[in-house]
């Protein structure tokens, strides 16, 4: 393999790495201004995004470059590689890069006096680099290591402010639970290696899972244990109940821009890892179930995994929604809402068909914008002196109509109101579950009921923002009563970077909601490609 044919497909990663190096070089040169370092991060993610979009074959960008044919070879004629470029992997690369791009764009408006810009952007880019590698992983070890790259970077990101004890505590918690789950994941991978003799995901797919080799009877337990550990290990990343407890504290304690990155970016990586790891066993059994020699009397692996995932999915969305309903703080409410959204997304891999994967991918795409945007907006609003409680947002819709409307749009999209991207993604996802029939229909119904439940707490925020008056400033004793004006918000907006990021979010929410076909078509064909790839 010569260098160019190796480097070609990894151009986006290389761009990011160059960005990281440049940022740290500037740090050494004492050029640490937020704007400068931030623009490097934005530029790096932007370039990488352009390359990924070109890889996906969107015509305006296709001239830019095309992937070498060898890197998308689904026949694996030259043996199983560590990485493989599937269309869905590229879609996820694009999603990750979009999330990072939004966060770094918004962070351009961080207060000037806040320090640590190079650390922040460098870690952000490193975490994104790990995520891009996850998206193209073809081997379990490669996948888990790539996840580790991201994890290490995010632990540091959560605690980078150093002086804030809350964020330090959050970082510590995340690190301990993260280390535990990494151990579990690797243990699971080793068990799978024991069962299959390989850790390559596509090789596993190709192997007859249940009856290859001698002593077929001993395989299922080992395989089940292996997948069980992997599910638990990855569930930490994807914030599935009951492995979610860290997420709320961390989302709450971390600097809000970092929270936006965690909810919009790194969590999605965990979900895509689920896709990668579990599609093979689920799909494999599904495809052989109709009259091939694999339908033995032994436990069918796919359905067992599916039922387990279905339970996790329903548990996650229900617990997330119910607890979100009870929250009084905006960030914790959004955190729980984000957990419940992970439950919806898990439906995609549980069902395991191409339309369902497409629906889940679209839901993830939507969530990057809705939830990432919401956290970015929360970060901006707190700079105006709005407190952490939902009640502190009283009257914001009338005092700052632009921010109010943008936030309302994000909430409406999360609730799945038509003409927003959230509606389209839920529609595609749930209808795919219904199409798959069987008990998946109940999954869709559980999802619908949960969406209905979630409307309550979104609507509560809307009511607070638009229909309630802000409490007047507490008057000093002895003043004449009559000054019932709400406190004046500090002048000025979010700053250009944050305003641009939020504007972009709003545009995407509405544009894809009104005209979803372009994104939907790309995601659908990518999901189909992913399902067929290497099979």
């Amino acid at each position: 393999m010569d260098l160019t044919s190796f480097a070609g497909p990894f151009l986006p990663e290389i761009v990011l790495l160059a960005g990281v190096l440049l940022v740290y070089l500037l740090d050494v040169l004492k050029l640490r201004s937020n704007e400068l370092v931030g623009s490097i991060a934005v530029a790096a993610t932007g370039f990488a995004l352009l390359f990924v979009v070109a890889d996906l074959g969107f015509t305006p960008f296709a001239l830019l470059r095309t992937l070498p044919a060898s890197s998308v070879d689904p026949t694996f004629s030259g043996g199983y590689p560590l990485y493989a470029f599937t269309s869905l992997g590229l879609v996820f690369q694009a999603i990750f890069l979009l999330a990072t791009c939004l966060v770094s764009l918004a962070s351009l408006s961080r207060p000037r006096e806040e320090r640590g810009a190079p650390i922040f952007y460098g870690l952000l880019l490193l975490a994104t680099l790990g995520m891009l590698l996850v998206a193209v992983a073809a081997d379990l070890i490669f996948l888990l290591l790539a996840i580790e790259v991201t994890s290490l970077a995010t632990y540091l990101l959560v605690g980078y402010t150093r002086r804030d004890s809350r964020s330090l505590e959050a970082a510590m918690k995340m690190y301990i639970i993260g280390a535990l789950s990494t151990t579990l994941s690797f243990f699971g991978a080793s068990l799978l290696y024991g069962a299959y003799g390989t850790t390559n995901l596509y090789a596993i797919r190709a192997i007859g899972i249940l009856n290859t080799g001698a002593g077929a009877g001993s395989y299922p337990v080992l395989v089940l244990l292996g997948y069980g550990f992997l599910i638990v290990g990855l569930a930490f990343k994807a914030t599935l109940v009951p492995f979610h407890a860290w997420a709320v504290d961390v989302y709450d304690g971390a600097p809000t821009d970092v929270t936006a990155f965690l909810a919009g970016g790194s969590k999605k990586m965990g979900l895509f890892a689920f896709f990668l790891v579990l599609l093979a066993p689920i799909l494999f059994v599904r495809t052989v179930a109709s009259g091939s020699p694999f339908t033995t009397t032994q436990v069918a692996l796919g359905p067992v995994l599916q039922i387990t995932l279905a339970v996790l999915a329903v548990l996650t969305m229900t617990v997330g929604n119910v607890l979100a309903l009870l929250q009084k703080e905006m960030k914790r409410m959004l955190a729980y809402s984000s957990i419940s959204q992970a439950g919806y997304m898990l439906i995609g891999i549980t069902v395991g068909t191409a339309p369902a994967l497409a629906g889940a991918t679209l839901q993830i795409f939507a969530h990057v914008f809705m939830k990432g945007g919401a956290f970015l907006l929360v970060a901006g609003v707190s700079a105006w002196g709005i407190g952490p409680l939902i009640d502190d947002w009283k009257g914001l819709g009338t005092r700052r109509p632009l921010a109010g409307v943008a936030f309302a749009l994000m909430l409406l999209s999360m609730a799945g109101v038509p003409l927003t991207v959230g509606f389209v993604s839920k529609f595609v996802l749930f209808s795919a579950a219904v199409q798959a029939q069987g008990y998946f229909v109940w999954l869709a119904i559980a999802g619908l009921l949960n969406s209905a439940l979630s409307v309550f707490y979104y609507a509560r925020v809307l009511r607070v923002m638009f229909f309630e008056q802000a409490a007047p400033n507490p008057l000093p004793a002895g003043t004449v009563v009559g000054g019932s004006e709400p406190p004046i918000l500090p002048a000025g907006g979010f700053g250009y970077g944050r305003a641009a990021a939020i504007g972009l979010v709003v545009i995407v929410i509405v544009a894809v909601g009104v005209y979803p076909q372009m994104v939907l078509g790309a995601v659908q064909s990518a999901a189909q490609h992913f399902v067929n790839f290497g099979a």
């Binding site: 918690k173 535990l180 638990v232 492995f243 407890a245 067992v304 995994l305 039922i307 009870l326 339309p355």
Partner: protein, 649 residues
């Protein structure tokens, strides 16, 4: 055509201006020009269908549910049928806007009025040019919403806001049925479609495929299901077009401004139900059971609404009942398989009914009351209005050569020709014919009461005079249309259209075979009705039914609208209110209780709560391990058991 909708919407944005009314008129005028041009284009070349659409989103095929995939489109369709409706909407819409300038100038809240009216016009045009059922439904809801707003325009009046609510609720019953109907059709046709088209669902429920009428009779399906779907569509149409038994809201909707009554509750929105039936009948087809049911609803409504109009003292409500009754004729025609004949009556009716409403509005504007028994002798001071009302009345009564004659005669003739094949239509045909007599009687009773005689019966009425040109121009224009619109039937293109519509539903085109005897009879009946009205009420007379008369109970029954409204109110008060109370109880005790219960539960275990979510990392690790054990229990024991039991996904 999309630009057309945009024009309407842009209109709604500009209403804050001082000259908002004129701006709205301008936009309505622009819409009129575009509408007439487009409609003329479509009508001059009957073979032409302009279908513009783009895909909103689509799902790939899946073997079980959508073998051909599923697609939702947004599009506009201009064919002769929608052109006819377009003409009605834009012409009446423009004239009513113009009329509003003077009629409404004393009222407050005019920006709201013009904004809502413009929004209504935009939505209504959107509705008639929708090319698929989902889009149709969307606009359908939008016009319903505008209607709700406009009925409640005088929201300070309790009767107005309660009428608005009533209209909203009653039509909602129909809307829910309509939506169910769409789903049933979708369920039934998801596999099927005309050859090569990939299925109805795959094509986004579009009405037309090229110039071919879609689906009619060519596709199979479960006939029971189709019948139920048809009944649901009928329910939707009955709600919107105020058909029995969902007619109660329309007379009360007269609480809105008269202009609104003319535009929305006479000419356009209420006709949307008929349009829906016609479109469904043309492109989907009804089963024989559905047809009989539709004919029955149409016939019954025609007669019953007419009887209620006979006794009412309020000039607007007489016309409102008349609208219900006339819509019944259209429904009757559609049910008998003559969708286009029904639409022809819709076309002529829109003009003469708007004319009647606007003349009534001129009277109300001049004398300040709606009570017929206080008016009288207005003929002398309001010459134009009196003539206009008379022309509208003659058209309504079906006296040749006025527009109503041609279309009503067509309906009766067409249904008559079907009686041989469908004897079950007989009773409803007789009701419809009897309706002709009643129609002529009640409308001329109203005319004589208001206009004949020497002076108003209530001497305190202000001195009345004809309005200015802003109100008379619409009156004169509509009068001309009420005289002339019926002659359209002599235009070969239009005849072809009528034939085409009849032929589609699989029924021999019979509209042309109007029975001369039948025509003569209906004209005679109309004449008799007018004569009776003159005999009882003419020349300022007031016919007082003796208290001892045997007919007195009938009059009471009619005045009380057969007690249906009271019955609904009773059901509403007892039934719905209890449901509402139950829901309130549920809300207060179950939902709030659950939420508070959770809170209390958490509060009670606040120590543990703090431990759960506020920090101790070893606990989180314990959850992970606990979760791990739970996952293994699931994976190793529960799931295999379930898979063995059910057979897996």
């Amino acid at each position: 055509m999309t630009a057309f909708v945009v024009v309407g919407l842009a209109g709604t944005r500009l209403k804050r201006l001082e000259w908002g009314g004129w701006v709205a008129v301008g936009f309505a005028g622009a819409a009129l020009i575009v509408g007439v041009l487009v409609a003329a284009g479509a009508m001059l070349d009957p073979g032409r269908y302009t279908n513009v659409q783009y895909t909103w989103f689509q799902l790939p095929p899946s073997p079980g549910t959508f073998p051909n995939g599923f697609e939702l489109v947004v599009g506009t369709l201009v064919d002769p049928i929608s052109a006819l409706m377009l003409l009605v909407v834009t012409v009446v819409g423009f004239l009513v806007m113009l009329y509003s300038i003077e009629y409404m100038h004393h009222d407050r809240g005019l920006p709201r009025y013009y904004a809502e009216l413009s929004l209504f016009l935009a939505a209504m045009t959107g509705l008639v040019i929708s090319n698929n059922l989902f889009e149709f439904f969307l606009f359908w809801e939008l016009v319903g919403l505008c209607s709700y707003f406009l009925i409640g325009f005088y929201y300070e009046k309790p009767s107005a806001s309660s009428a608005a609510k009533e209209a909203f609720l009653v039509t909602r019953v129909g809307d829910v049925m309509f939506l169910l109907g769409i789903f049933l059709y979708f369920y039934n046709y998801r596999f099927a479609g005309p050859a090569g088209s990939g299925g109805w669902a795959a094509n986004g429920f579009v009405f037309v495929n090229g110039s071919q009428p879609f689906l009619a009779g060519t596709m199979g399906g479960n006939s029971t299901l189709l019948t139920v779907a048809g009944i649901m569509i009928l329910g939707g149409a009955a709600g919107k077009s105020a058909q029995f038994p969902l007619h109660v809201w329309l007379p009360d909707a007269m609480e809105g401004p008269t202009t609104v009554s003319a535009l929305i509750h006479a000419a356009t929105m209420v006709a949307a139900g008929v349009y829906l039936l016609a479109v469904t009948s043309l492109f989907l087809g009804f089963t024989a059971t559905d047809q009989l049911l539709i004919v029955a609803i149409g016939g019954i409504t025609t007669f019953f609404a007419a009887t209620m109009a006979v006794v009412h003292p309020d000039i607007k409500r007489v016309i409102a009942y008349s609208t219900i009754s006339q819509l019944g004729y259209m429904v009757l025609a559609v049910g008998a398989g003559f969708a286009m004949v029904g639409l022809f009556h819709l076309f002529t009716h829109a003009f003469f009914k708007a004319l009647l409403f606007l003349s009534a509005g001129a009277v109300i504007h001049a004398v300040g009351t709606q009570d017929l028994f206080k008016m009288g002798g207005l003929r002398k001071t309001m010459k134009i209005t009196a003539t206009a009302f008379a022309i509208g009345g003659l058209a309504l009564a079906g006296i040749p050569p006025f527009a109503g004659f041609w279309s009503k005669d067509d309906i009766l003739g067409s249904v008559y020709a079907q009686l041989g094949a469908h004897p079950a239509y007989w009773p409803f045909f007789i009701l419809a014919v009897a309706g002709v007599f009643l129609t002529a009687y009640y409308i001329f009773r109203a005319w004589f009461l208001a206009f004949s005689g020497d002076r108003p019966r209530d001497p305190t009425l202000p001195h009345a005079h004809d309005p200015t040109w802003r109100m008379t121009v619409p009156l004169v224009t509509l009068s001309a249309l009420a005289v002339g619109a019926g002659f359209l039937i002599f235009w070969p293109n239009f005849q072809g259209l009528l034939l085409n519509g009849a032929g589609v539903a699989g029924i021999p085109p019979t509209y042309g075979t109007t029975d001369l005897l039948l025509s003569a009879m209906s004209v005679l009946l109309g004449g008799a009705g007018i004569a009776l009205a003159w005999y009882l009420w003419g020349n300022g007379k007031v016919f007082v039914l003796p208290e001892s008369s045997a007919v007195q109970p009938v009059r009471k029954l009619l005045l009380n609208r057969y007690y249906m409204k009271a019955g609904y109110d009773w059901i509403g008060a007892k039934g719905v209110y209890s449901i509402a109370r139950a829901a309130d109880f549920f809300d207060q005790f179950v939902i709030d209780g659950t939420v508070h219960g959770f809170e209390r539960m958490f509060a009670a275990f606040s120590d543990r709560l703090r431990r759960i979510q506020s920090g101790v990392v070893s606990d989180y690790a314990a959850y992970v391990v606990g979760g791990l054990i739970a996952v293994f229990v699931l994976l190793l024991f529960v799931a295999p058991y379930l898979v063995a039991k059910v057979g897996g996904g």
